[in-house]
């Protein structure tokens, strides 16, 4: 059976074993070692800030938190942004500062003079970056009358502010809605969340999300290396002409190879899922653990990551080269990881390749994005199959001498020729 032969071929690849080791290391160092003890209920009688925080989703809280942060940044003319995940302190020109001031006035009703007055009463301190010293301001908390502005208009304003700042700021609507809606949990909140772990998640659901969060990071990039190694093996072994001259259809060959890649690369993930189930059954001995969630959620969550990475690796290797596939996949993965900035929980959008939910709790936040999550995973599943179909088409073109691949780099690369 061709599928079994392809699987065997993959098992003989050094890159595949390196992939297995990296997946195992990620699992052992991040997830397995963190989940060696069971979760215990919160102790009563502590002050609200001692428990965790939770996103309230309350519009008034979001508006007030956002504006208070914005006013301090505006006075200091220093806005911290993370475009593509990298720290950047943005200092605006006067014209842009005026726009920010106008927005603050629109939201708060505070005019230029009033804002100047508040600034005069601010706490001032100096921050050095090693070369320059900057004066920064910390204003007293300002109460905002949120009846003056609709929430939709507020979203428009902060979206525009984020654009003025060049993106990646705390004022991007999704970031603001998360960062500035946090409120301290009460004991009751903390207890409710703890109870959800047992009642709604059946224990395993929460652990499955955490497991998928960690594994999703490596499965968004590592499979591309194995896919490239397998896709380029024919050419590297000078076997491509022998393969091209066989009677097997390109679609059957490419899809069989893809199926073998996915199967082989999912085996270590499945092994780790089984190890996680055993670990859960041990640490929650006597509790009712919904084992099916630990099996189902990671498969639905992680398989699309693996499929996309492998499909893109195969397609770009056939069309261009392995190097191009690595560069493109790394860019997709990196932007997906960094786009969420510091939001590690509930960072799930329609087209985020690497979905994040780096906690056992906060189930409500995850469920808030449930529809996006289902759309996201289905989209990447279908997109992977479409990419494999295109790979098969490119393979067919190559074996018939109608296309020889496009080399971007190297001796005959078009980029080098242009240079």
């Amino acid at each position: 059976m061709l599928f079994a032969k392809e699987c065997r071929k993959i098992s003989g690849s050094l890159v595949f074993w390196i992939y297995c080791i990296i997946i195992a290391l990620m699992f052992l160092t991040q997830y397995f070692s963190d989940c060696t003890e069971r979760e215990y209920p919160p102790s009563p009688g502590r002050s609200a800030g001692d428990y965790d925080f939770k996103p309230s989703g309350d519009h008034d809280t979001i508006i007030e938190g956002t504006v208070n942060s914005l006013i301090n940044d505006y006075y200091s003319n220093k806005y911290i942004c993370y475009p593509l995940g990298f720290y950047k302190a943005v200092h605006l020109k006067d014209k842009d500062q005026e726009k920010i001031e106008a927005y603050i006035t629109e939201i708060t009703g505070l005019d230029h003079d009033k804002l100047a007055e508040i600034k005069n009463n601010c706490e001032e301190y100096y921050v050095s970056d090693g070369v320059h010293e900057y004066k920064e301001y910390k204003a007293e908390h300002i109460d905002v009358d949120t009846d003056n502005i609709s929430y939709d208009r507020f979203r428009e304003i902060i979206s525009d502010i984020d654009s003025i700042l060049g993106g990646g700021s705390d004022y991007a609507p999704e970031s603001a809605e998360y960062n500035f809606s946090m409120i301290p949990m009460t004991y009751e909140d903390a207890l409710e969340e703890y109870n959800e772990l047992f009642e709604k998640d059946g224990i395993a659901g929460a652990y499955a999300r955490l497991f998928s969060d960690y594994l999703g990071i490596v499965l968004g990039i590592m499979p591309v290396f194995v896919a490239i190694a397998i896709a380029a093996a024919d050419r590297r072994s000078r076997m491509d002409q022998l393969i091209f001259s066989r009677s097997i259809s390109s679609f059957r060959l490419v899809f069989t190879r893809y199926a073998a890649l996915i199967t082989m690369m999912f085996i270590p993930v499945l092994t780790e899922i089984i190890a996680s189930v055993i670990q859960l059954l041990v640490i929650y001995n006597g509790e009712s653990v919904a084992v099916e969630k630990m099996l189902g959620i990671p498969v639905f969550w992680l398989l699309p990551n693996l499929m996309v990475s492998a499909a893109l690796g195969m397609l770009l290797t056939e069309m261009f080269s392995g190097g191009t596939a690595i560069v493109v996949q790394f860019a997709v993965w990196f932007m997906s990881i960094m786009r969420g900035g510091t939001v590690l929980s509930g960072n799930i959008r329609k087209f985020t390749l690497v979905c994040r939910h780096n906690t056992l709790y906060n189930r409500a936040q995850f469920m808030l994005h449930k529809n996006d999550f289902i759309f996201n995973r289905t989209f990447y599943f279908i997109a992977s199959l479409a990419a494999v179909a295109v790979t098969a088409f490119v393979f067919e073109m190559k074996r018939g001498g109608r296309f020889n691949g496009i080399r971007l780099f190297g001796k005959d690369g078009i980029l080098r020729r242009k240079a």
Partner: protein, 307 residues
């Protein structure tokens, strides 16, 4: 399958009519016309003559620009059907280095659609036929160049093709391996079409009766080896010359051989007219001389020999 191939007369021949092929703007094949029947067929030509391009076109690995090709009655456009009846051994090839010899053969058999129950028997039989049965468990990377070539023939025969296309199969082989390989080709040509492309005249001489000579994408000659020899009759001479005249003779004539004697050298010359040299004798043409005469009479620049 006979309904696929038409009548019996069509079953065992390849017909190539006015075939042209371009690489971008550069024309690689010019109006190729050939009929190739069962048995060994030699395609002789210098490097860059277009042999590999023609071979790949016949194996449905390249597309022609115009003209018609039918392989055993099948138009070349039916690539999948053509691949099912064609075995191809490319000029440069290898296999997954870490696969065992029998595994590699089995894998390629699977890609050719040979059923699993037949494959095992065929792999054993073919490895025995190409004298690799004792090396079946060796990894491909451990095989010598000659062994790899024999494995190459075995892979091309795994699906029992009606047509076998072998491109420069003996390049780089030592004389013993070369002879073994030629004999193997002759054996397999008993019941199928075998097209052997080479620039080594000795390979053709030892194996083929029907040949075509190509140069710069054109067919210069097609026919039997004996007719090629006959064509050169009266144009091959030998002469005994002093060694000091050799550079001048090489400049003025097409020299196909030299045998150094004690105080002179016997040179073999291709010429339209009798050369004005001492002791010049008209001699029986050999295939190498006949091939050189064919190139010369077709207007090819052959000063300096092969590129």
């Amino acid at each position: 399958m006979s309904f696929l191939f038409g009548g019996d007369n069509m079953n065992n021949c390849i017909e190539i009519k006015n075939v042209n092929k371009f690489y971008g703007k550069k024309q690689a094949l010019f109006d190729i016309d050939l009929t190739i029947e069962q048995g060994m067929f030699g395609l002789l030509g210098r490097n860059g003559a277009g042999k590999t391009t023609l071979m790949k076109t016949l194996a449905a690995l390249h597309q022609k620009k115009s003209g018609e090709i039918t392989v055993c009655g099948l138009p070349i456009e039916k690539a999948k059907d053509i691949r099912a009846i064609t075995g191809y051994l490319p000029q440069e090839f290898s296999m997954y280095p870490n696969m065992k010899t029998d595994e590699a053969l089995d894998y390629l058999g699977a890609l050719s659609g040979v059923p699993a129950n037949e494959r095992k028997k065929k792999v054993t039989a073919l490895l025995r036929r190409v004298n690799l049965i004792d090396h079946r468990h060796k990894k491909v990377k451990e095989l010598s160049g000659g062994m790899k070539r024999r494995l190459g023939i075995a892979q091309a025969l795994i699906h029992d093709p009606k047509v076998l296309i072998v491109d420069e199969p003996t390049a780089g082989l030592d004389p013993e391996e070369r002879i073994r390989f030629r004999n193997l080709l002759c054996e397999v040509a008993e019941d199928r079409i075998v097209i052997l492309s080479t620039h080594i005249v000795g390979d053709i001489e030892a194996t083929c009766e029907q040949i075509a000579i190509m140069d710069e994408g054109k067919v210069l000659w097609r026919g039997t080896v004996s007719s090629l020899l006959e064509n050169a009759r009266g144009h091959i001479y030998t002469a005994n010359v002093e060694k000091r005249f050799l550079p001048q003779i090489k400049r003025e004539f097409i020299v196909t051989g030299m045998i150094a004697q004690s105080d002179y050298t016997t040179v073999r010359i291709v010429s339209d007219a009798e050369p004005d040299l001492p002791n010049v004798v008209l001699t029986e043409p050999d295939l190498e001389g006949a091939y050189m005469y064919c190139l010369h009479s077709s207007g090819c620049d052959i000063s300096g020999g092969e590129e």
